[in-house]
């Protein structure tokens, strides 16, 4: 029975926006998780994210963020930091984002107790480009942050004795990314 979700958010075709799904696949290939944890590549889910998070105890998301900090900075946000972002004008279905989904879950009384957003400041979001060097350098610290949060919450995680295959179908063979140890 799942009580925790680790979700990678972002569009894999748009440069550093792929960093969330990339971190997620690295986690999948290198670690074993208990059956109470689900790992999902969520893409750019907009309001449908609500359905993924309602009723969870713990939510960990990895996403690219925009910030005045330099590209590659890893910034951790807790639930209150996210809820402080007021809902946007809903001009189109992409507008409702993380804060709207959490606020909806709050309104329903079934919002996750523990929320962590692992944000990685992106360098560029051009179609078709590979992850920037700064984003790649941020992957290691991002994974450390996720593992330490899981341990703090008492979830079981184990490093696999040998890493599984890293399936990055969206990259050309020549763009295959180096995987941090």
């Amino acid at each position: 029975m799942r009580t925790a979700l680790i979700g990678g958010i972002g569009n894999v075709l748009l440069g550093d926006d792929a960093v969330g799904p990339y971190v997620l696949r690295l986690l999948e290939s290198k670690y074993e998780f208990g059956s109470d944890i689900e790992l999902l590549d969520l893409g750019t889910p907009a309001l449908d994210l609500t359905h993924q998070i309602v009723g969870l105890k713990s939510l960990i998301l990895i996403d690219s963020v925009t910030s005045d900090d330099p590209p590659g900075t890893v910034i951790l946000y807790k639930k209150d930091d996210i809820l402080r972002v007021a809902p946007a004008e809903r001009l189109d279905p992409h507008s409702p984002a993380l804060s709207e989904c959490l606020l909806t879950a709050e309104m329903l009384g079934s919002s996750p107790e523990n929320v962590l957003l692992v944000g990685i400041v992106g360098a560029g979001f051009e179609p078709g480009s590979a992850l920037s060097e700064s984003a790649r350098n941020a992957v290691g610290p991002a994974i450390e942050a996720i593992l330490s949060e899981l341990r703090r919450l008492g979830y079981a995680v184990q490093r696999k004795s040998s890493a599984g295959k890293l399936a990055l179908w969206w990259t050309q063979p020549s763009e295959e990314l180096p995987t941090p140890s």
């Binding site: 958010i9 972002g10 569009n11 894999v12 075709l13 748009l14 926006d17 590549d41 969520l42 893409g43 750019t44 889910p45 907009a46 309001l47 449908d48 609500t50 359905h51 309602v54 996403d63 690219s64 963020v65 925009t66 910030s67 910034i75 946000y77 930091d81 996210i82 402080r84 972002v85 007021a86 809902p87 946007a88 004008e89 809903r90 001009l91 189109d92 279905p93 992409h94 507008s95 409702p96 984002a97 993380l98 709207e100 606020l103 909806t104 709050e106 309104m107 329903l108 009384g109 957003l117 944000g119 992106g122 979001f125 051009e126 179609p127 078709g128 179908w169 969206w170």
Partner: protein
Amino acid sequence: MAKRITIDPITRIEGHLRIDVEVDNYAVSNAWASCTMWRGIEKILRGRDPRDAWLFTQRFCGVCTTVHAMASVRSVEDALKLEIPPNAQYIRNLILIAHALHDHIVHFYQLSALDWVDVMQIPKADPAATAKLAESISPWTRNSRNELKAAQDRVNAVAASGQLGIFANGYWGHPAMKLSPEVNLLAFSHYVQALEYQRKALQVVGILGSKTPHIQNLTVGGVANAIDLDSQSALSMDKLEMIRGLLAEVAQFVQQVYFVDVCAVAAMYPTWFGIGSGVKNYLAVPDLPIDSRGSAYELPGGYIHGGELGGVKGFQTAADPAFRQAVTEDVMHAYYQGDKPLHPWVGETEPAFTGWDGEQKYSWVKAPRYNGEPAQVGPLAQVLIGYAQGHPLTKKYTDMAIEKVAAIGGPRATPAALHSTLGRHAARAIRACMLAELAQKHWQLLVDNIAKGDYSVHNQPVLPSHEVQGVGTHEAPRGTLSHWIVIKDEKIKNYQAVVPSTWNASPRDQKGTHGPYEASLLHTPLARPEEPLEVLRTVHSFDPCMACACHAFDPSGRKIGVAKIL
């Protein structure tokens, strides 16, 4: 002196819709629709294997993943003249229907209902009177006093917290809001219930597609679902029964709640049957094929010019020659290089960003044109095109809607009143009812075909060495979607996606003709120009979806959803 108002939700760093209107004497005198993101994703596809294209196109948009996957495999099948087995057609149709039902429910309740429903009036409502009102218009069993009281308590709790939470950004108390506290409460109670039913529709997509939000079961030539009625790892009878149950629940919500609520809003805002018409050229492609060859369809397509329903021209197939030849894209006012409209097979996507200039270039959206003219796409186009051709299912639910609006105390609308903001909402609810009925039919077609012993789901594609081209269409929740592919040496040579919101949100073309969003906003009255709720009502009625976007989270909480007056 006209004032310009810009509506631009600036928290998205890329790819959102921006609307600019000029307001003169409390009415819109000019309008511009633009998209703030570069749509060049198609270029990623060049040189790749056409059989893999759908995996990439599914990532164009995080909201409409499935539709881009489907249009893509259809484009390759069209280029290869490849038929697909009946089981694959039915499974695909069920996925498309479930996705569309989910999308239409989300659109009405979560994305547009609060343009008409004033949440802050709900604390004043009497739940018992609301329950009585509800009973008079719908047999829905979840309109009890207790259920309504629980919904009211949710609003009271949010209001009492001092922070409006999810309701922090609405036009509460706006003079254009007209519903009684009881109707506001009833609609809000369904807003909450809608979250449950959209999830059930998504579960159907998940079971058949083996995953959401990105389905895994498509393949050029059919689907990858193994059918074995007794195996838990395949499409089994247990799973089929689960799908039937979910679809039945969603159908009941659509027919007893969504459809009725739209009719009630229409009855209580009758002036909106006269606002928001705009472009009256309508385009829809036939969809939901019922045979292997794609020669017969559940939903008709065609073209209506200038609102003349009597002159409708029907399309025989989803890739009708009339449609194939008529589509061009114009970049006169879009941030791309080029000086003449191009057919998508020879389309180019070379950026030339200049910054917003309403007289020159102002959008990242190209301007698709049908025989050189703008066309409106979406449920309204589909319903009018079906109605004009006497399609029985379209006629059944359209006539039912007209009766229902009148029964709730609204005007007896004619199909002509559908050229409007309310008409777009009504048509989407009509289409949802049609799809809910068709879901049950296609479930039965699938089960009956399997019962005959046909387990086939896939025909093997063979890529020719010479150059071939194809178009894959789908009548998506927001309207006509077409993917245009050119294949050479077993690789993709060119790929262009002409998406529904490109038709509707298109900028002006080289003749200076407005696109559908723009045209629909002209003459819209505004009670308070600094709070342009009426503009949002009409823009939302199209169900805009711009972006296919980059979603980097902006935690700085900069001011959002501003109506900026210049």
